[in-house]
Amino acid sequence: MALRILDPGSQTTVQDLGRVGLRRYGIPSSGAMDQFALQTANLLVGNPPGAAGLETLLQGLSLEALVPVVIAITGGDLGAELNGRPAPMWTSFRIQPHDRLTFKRRAAGCRAYLAFQGGIVVPELLGSRSTFARGRIGSSLRSKDTLPLGTPPLTGASFRRSLPPKLRPSRSQEHGVRVLLGPQTKSFTPAGHETFLNSTYRVSPNSDRQGYRTEGPAITFALGPDIISDPTPLGAVQVPGNGQPIILLRDGQVTGGYAKIATVIFADLDRFGQMAPGDTLFFRAVTREEALLAAAETQRLVKYLEIALRGG
């Protein structure tokens, strides 16, 4: 074993990029809520972008290295410290046995990602190492849990690599989220659509990896909130009877009986990873072309980093 959890904090789970093609069995994708952050952390330590790392929420995580290992911390700024001194973000560095990493106070965002050279190698289940606690696939980590790491890649020591600041996502407590409208367009009135696209919604405390609930002006229905249960894709925006949108995320259900007004585009799903209760968000409808372009841009950036950081 290479790592020991001293305190899991608010919630710490093992995540990679998740599972694909199992929604027909009721298995959601799971995986990192902020996939760009996890991918970048992995690339900084010389891992493939989809290796498993840790996702930690808000604050309180404390862990100890049991072996020398190269790590990187990305995502939200949760006040990471190495042995009581500020630890760098978006930069790889080496830690030694008995070194302690702690996350003490949230400064921006709300989920940080830790990648370790070699990746965390808990067993793969249904094609992924991602925790899906409700489905008894792994569980949130507890104190005294230990984690194994894989063999480091042969490329040699990958530390002191850093993501240029201009490529690090900026953090705000206001989030614009792009959506594709539909499919239950007719369930809502035109005024309801207008409310949805022209209002600011506040993130409810009742939000987690399964879904984000929001509070704001109620969306009005033409046909009502109930539909014959049908499939809900990742990012689906459901509207229950109270008219307040719920966004289904990585651990979200695969079928549902509420009308869906829109789907969040892939490129903007990561934003929810850094969205905390009390933050505000607004929805903007885009065309399919814009959504595909944005997704391709994100993928291109990861590809670019993969090449650029390999050079070390």
Binding site: V20, G21, L22, R23, R24, Y25, G26, I27, P28, L125, L126, F132, R134, G135, R136, I137, L180, G182, P183, K186, P190, I228, S229, D230, P231, P233, L234, G235, A236, Q253, V254, T255, G256, K260, T263, I265, F266, R288, A291, L292, A295, A296, Q299
Partner: protein, 275 residues
Amino acid sequence: MSPWVSILAGTAAPTRHPAISTTISEEDIGAACVPEVYPRLQPIGEAGVLVEYEPQISLKVHRKVRQLASALEQQPLPGMIEVVPAYRSLMVSFHPEQISLAEIQAAIEERLEHLNEFSLPDSRLFRIPTVYGGRHGPDLEHIAQTTGQTCAEVIELFSSQRYPVYFLGFLCCLPYMGGVPLRLQLPRLTTPRTFLPAGSVGMANAQAVVLPIDQPSGFHFLGQTFVGLYDPHQFPPTPIRPGDFVECPAVSEEEALGWKGRFVGECLGHGASHS
């Protein structure tokens, strides 16, 4: 045709007469033009196509869903990820960088023309031993009182039914089943319970359910099975498929507990055939 008829009622003008534009907004016509012709295809998100049949929960409509799902699974389309069936609709998810929306929609339309070349998988019967009432069925007495029957009659009626599985969904292979007899049907609880253990056997309206994991639910629960319905260490994580049938025969508590740790694959009835 019919939406046009209602919009144009009272006007003598032919459909393309320019005068119509002064009385009917484009939105009206747009809404009226949405075809209520099934199956209907529309995009859902950037990587999905939603195929919808008639809006009803019936085995007849569901058979069409299964036929298309089965045809697509037997011979997947290029760029297709998976098919997620539901009651009257199914979602085809795909890699948009491998196939365009227009291309996959055309491919689905094309497949719809050739459904008769694909067979439906056989329906199987799973008999899931269930202990009813007492601490295993918190709502049994309430169901009996509300429907004007004795507890024994409720158990007899519920446990003698064969429930068709429409699809697996929500989370962790939750089977959506229908077929609860009218005499047992009750609306959902207005305030859902926050916790029910895996294996709880319940119903609401015409829907029957066996919970695969611990979860909240607004259904009425009358029994419990100790057979596992969902196992993430196996693939697929349940052997139950849309189109199969489930029975929940009543057994003693002792017998029910004897199934603890066993998997629903062992409950597969032999020689059962269903259309």
